[in-house]
């Protein structure tokens, strides 16, 4: 493995932000760390970058223990949430900043800088002041700045959270493209699970300082290990079956029918929401609210107040350990 986090821990006052975290990331892998605020993902990232000193544990890159190293000596590069572009320098100067400390000649620095800008498609902006750039453009500059120094590990701290929805989708594809092209090992922190699901090779879900589940996106989505994972990733209905076991069923697997069948449950539609690609029904089953997603291609005749029956295929339900 390329990047190893061993027993990494950090507490603040009485709160343990990160509890004995163990992670192994392969070379060229994009691993997302996902979780609600306060789960410890940003703290973890900062410990890898060297901005926070762990109370316990080690950070190892390519076999080299870098735990004691100050951030400027580590082979990591960070893209900050606010991009942290230097306002008193233009685009090109921002990008080539790190190369100064590698002892490169000016000419070489400029060349590399322009190459990098070319890669992110912003070469024509190289002499612009960064204040004149849009959010998406600033993001790309920040990325270029981090990548130009050929870091062994790229650290991204919620890089897209300042962008609007559409731009976010566009940018995450670009980041993914860049990352795979360069085959650079990446740790990507986000609270947006759709983002994490879409671009990660693997995904780590953290909660209160510990790992809840780690695995490939599809695996996590399909087979959440516990309530937290099931609830955090996507939307889930929690249904207790006849044997008293708790089942997690995704809304897209709920079947609505006018007629009763074996194993189906009666309920009443309380709200119908149109979200574009599909319609979500909120159904009252036994005083619990179940969500059902139906693609809009069908004839959706049920309206608020209708009495209906819901059911689901057995293999689409996941048993949750309590």
């Amino acid at each position: 493995m390329f990047l190893q986090l061993k027993e990494l821990s950090k507490s603040y006052k009485h709160i343990q932000a990160v509890k004995y975290l163990n992670l192994e990331i392969d070379k060229g892998e994009l691993l997302s760390i996902l979780g609600p605020s306060g789960c410890g993902k940003t703290t973890t990232l900062r410990m890898v970058g060297g901005f926070i000193a762990p109370d316990h544990g080690r950070v190892i890159i390519q076999g080299q223990d870098i735990t004691q190293m100050p951030p400027n000596l580590r082979p990591t590069a960070t893209v900050f949430q606010s991009y942290a572009l230097f306002p008193h320098m233009n685009v090109l100067e921002n990008v080539i900043y790190s190369l100064k400390f590698k002892g490169m000649k000016r000419k070489q620095m400029l060349k590399k800088g322009e190459e990098m800008l070319e890669m992110v498609g912003l070469k024509h902006y190289r002499y612009q002041s960064i204040n004149q750039l849009s959010g998406g453009e600033q993001q790309r500059i920040a990325l270029a700045r981090a990548l130009v120094m050929n870091p062994k590990v790229l650290l991204l701290d919620e890089p897209l959270s300042n962008l609007d929805a559409k731009l976010r989708i566009k940018m995450r594809k670009e980041i993914k493209d860049l990352q795979s092209a360069l085959k650079i090992t990446t740790l990507y922190v986000t609270h947006d699970q759709e983002e994490a699901l879409s671009i990660s090779d693997r995904l780590v879900l953290m909660n209160e300082g510990t790992v809840e589940q780690i695995g490939e996106p599809q695996e996590i989505y399909k087979n959440p290990k516990n309530i937290f994972v099931a609830d955090f990733i996507g939307r889930t209905n929690f249904i207790t079956n006849t044997e008293g076991k708790l089942l997690a069923v995704r809304p897209e697997h709920i079947i609505i029918s006018d007629t009763e069948a074996v194993g189906s449950m009666p309920g009443q539609v309380i709200q119908k929401q149109f979200t574009g690609a599909y319609v979500t029904y909120f159904i009252d089953i036994d005083s619990k609210v179940i969500q059902a997603d139906l693609p809009d291609t069908r004839n959706l005749k049920w309206e608020k107040g209708d009495n209906i029956f819901i059911s689901f295929a057995e293999d689409s339900a996941v048993k949750i350990e309590m």
Partner: protein, 576 residues
């Protein structure tokens, strides 16, 4: 409800507690007359003196002539050069020192930051000449360090002493201004720099300090103007080395050559004006730093950097503290330079004249603070909110004293008010007025800041519910302005207590204040007396400020103490 009756609001509206039931036009009348009175007073007490002094310098024996200026530039070149030399050098040193101290507080890992900060504030509220006095006591021919300790016999008078004292004296305000800017810098920029491979020193040099440029420039401008206007230090320890400010002083006090003094005063004003314009346009509009409020930096400095910053800063602090200790000692030393045994001789020798002057200082400061802050409030409201006709001009007029050097305003007042119809020189009234209008920018600025953050819809709400303009002001705006009033009060009080630059020209028997007495005592060489007066002023200002901070400011905020004390800084910029 109306029953077809004519709707006369006066009669039908129930009498509610505290709300007028008078006609709207009446309240407008009150508001208008208040506005006009204040506007006129600003014109009379700020603009007219400025015009008077400008005129005096060019209008001579019935004709316009630039002889005064020409003679200054041809015969007194040395004078101008001296001024520029001293001011430039001391500004440079002050800003460098201020930068180091500011970095110490914001970035280093050393302890005792709050102490350093407190010392910085202390130097802001100190009377003038404290450094000059202690300088003589320590480094004079018979100074305790140069003579008693080292057995040297050097001549301390001259420009080097002036530059030294001005540099160290102004470093405080420079540090505070730069500190304010440093704190506004987005800390993630420094982290990014580290992340990209720069070490802490490189980060400081390439990122932090360039981003602090607006603060550095602002500090330099203010130090330069203050240095130009400083006449006390050069008078006392300049010896044969004269600068524009001292000559202006001499020309008024000694020679009463008013045209010449007026010309000098105007020359003092010009750089101040230029600096002010640069400041307004360049510095204030800078987009260099994000508004995000952050506390201490997370940039970890290397060990050596910490040590260097620490050594320089603590030396600075030590130097300042030594001054105060020296002054304190001087008040109790029997005969400085000869007999250092402790005695209450000087305190006992305080005559009724000295005590009366001190009490007068307190009175004037209190009056100026009270009235000045009130006027500032009302003016701010009229300019910011009501936008009465001509408000832009009024706004400019009100900020004018900010950049006017003390001696200039003093001479201007003498010229403006020593003849009919405004025969006011020789009264205590004019002294207080001078103090009020000199500090007006403080009160107005504080109030303006609050007002811009106050949602005007609150006032509309009050009006909607039936309040007249005056009541909207009284019930809604005034309470919100209270913090601004308090800040302005304490700042004006302090600055008036320690001011001398303007009012020294207005002294007559019966209106003498403590700072002038102190000045006279120093000139005469009465170390003991001047030390006693200095201490009295320090204790009074320190005491009032502490009491104020403790009782009034502290409960109001629970955040970082330093942030609220930063409120002092913009107010004291340039006014001494």
């Amino acid at each position: 409800m109306n029953n077809g009756r004519k709707n006369t609001p006066n009669k039908l509206m129930p009498l509610q507690k505290g709300i007028f039931t008078r006609d709207i036009s009446f309240s407008n009348l009150i508001a208008s007359s208040v506005y006009i009175t204040l506007a006129v007073s600003v014109a009379v007490f700020i603009i007219w003196p400025t015009i008077a002094i400008l005129m005096e310098s060019v209008y001579y024996d019935g004709q316009f002539t630039l002889t005064q200026y020409i003679s200054l530039f041809t015969e007194n070149q040395q004078l101008l050069l001296n001024s520029i030399w001293v001011s430039t050098l001391s500004t440079f040193l002050a800003v460098v020192l201020g930068l180091i101290v500011a970095l110490f507080i914001s970035h280093s890992a050393n302890r005792g930051k709050k102490t350093v900060f407190a010392v910085l504030l202390l130097t802001l509220i100190s009377p003038p000449f404290v450094s000059a006095l202690s300088y003589i006591m320590l480094f004079g021919r018979r100074g305790i360090i140069t003579y008693n300790l080292l057995g040297l016999n050097i001549n301390p008078y001259g420009w080097h002493g002036v530059v030294l004292l001005q540099s160290i004296g102004h470093a405080s305000i420079a540090a505070l201004i730069i500190l304010g800017v440093l704190r506004g810098i987005d800390k993630s920029l420094e982290q990014a720099s580290l992340d990209l491979g720069a070490n802490s020193l490189q980060t400081l040099l390439k990122i932090t300090i360039p981003l602090a440029k607006p603060g550095i420039v602002a500090a330099a401008l203010i130090c330069f103007v203050q240095s130009l206007a400083d006449f006390g230090t050069p008078v006392i320890i300049g010896g044969n080395f004269t600068v524009l400010a001292t000559e202006a002083y001499l020309n008024v006090i000694g020679l009463y050559n008013l045209p010449r003094a007026a010309a000098m005063g105007t020359l003092l004003l010009i750089p101040a004006l230029i600096m002010f314009i640069i400041y307004r346009n360049v510095v204030k509009n800078s987009q260099y730093f994000s508004v995000r409020q952050s506390n201490e930096s997370t940039l970890v400095l290397s060990k050596w950097l910490n040590i260097i910053l620490g050594v320089i800063t603590w030396s600075f602090v030590a130097f300042q503290l030594i001054q105060y200790i020296t002054i304190l000692w001087g008040a109790f030393a029997r005969t400085w330079g000869v007999d250092f045994s402790l005695s209450l001789k000087h305190i006992n020798a305080l005559g009724s004249s000295q005590i009366a002057s001190f009490v007068r200082s307190l009175e004037y400061s209190f009056l100026a603070a009270l009235i000045g802050s009130l006027i500032g409030l009302i003016l701010a409201y009229m300019i910011e909110r009501k936008k009465f006709p001509g408000y832009q001009i009024l706004d400019f007029m009100v900020t004018l004293p900010y950049m006017i050097p003390g001696p200039f305003l003093g001479i201007a007042y003498v010229l403006a008010f020593h003849d009919y119809p405004l025969l006011l020189t020789g009264t205590a009234f004019i002294v207080v007025v001078n103090c009020i209008y000199r500090q007006l920018p403080i009160g107005t600025k504080a109030a303006t800041t609050v007002l811009t953050q106050l949602n005007p819809e609150i006032e509309y709400g009050a009006r909607d519910l039936g309040a007249s303009e005056i009541h909207a002001f009284k019930d809604v705006v005034l309470p919100a302005l209270k913090p601004a009033f308090l800040i302005s009060f304490i700042n004006t009080f302090t600055t008036t207590m320690i001011t001398i630059g303007a009012i020294i020209f207005l002294m007559v028997p019966g209106s003498e204040v403590a700072t002038v007495q102190m000045f006279n005592a120093i000139k005469t060489g009465d170390i003991g007396l001047s030390a006693v007066i200095a201490n009295m002023i320090i204790i009074a200002t320190l005491g009032i400020n502490l009491a104020f901070s403790y009782f009034i400011l502290r409960p109001a905020r629970h955040k970082d103490t330093m942030e609220k004390e930063m409120a002092y800084v913009p107010a004291i910029e340039g006014i001494k």
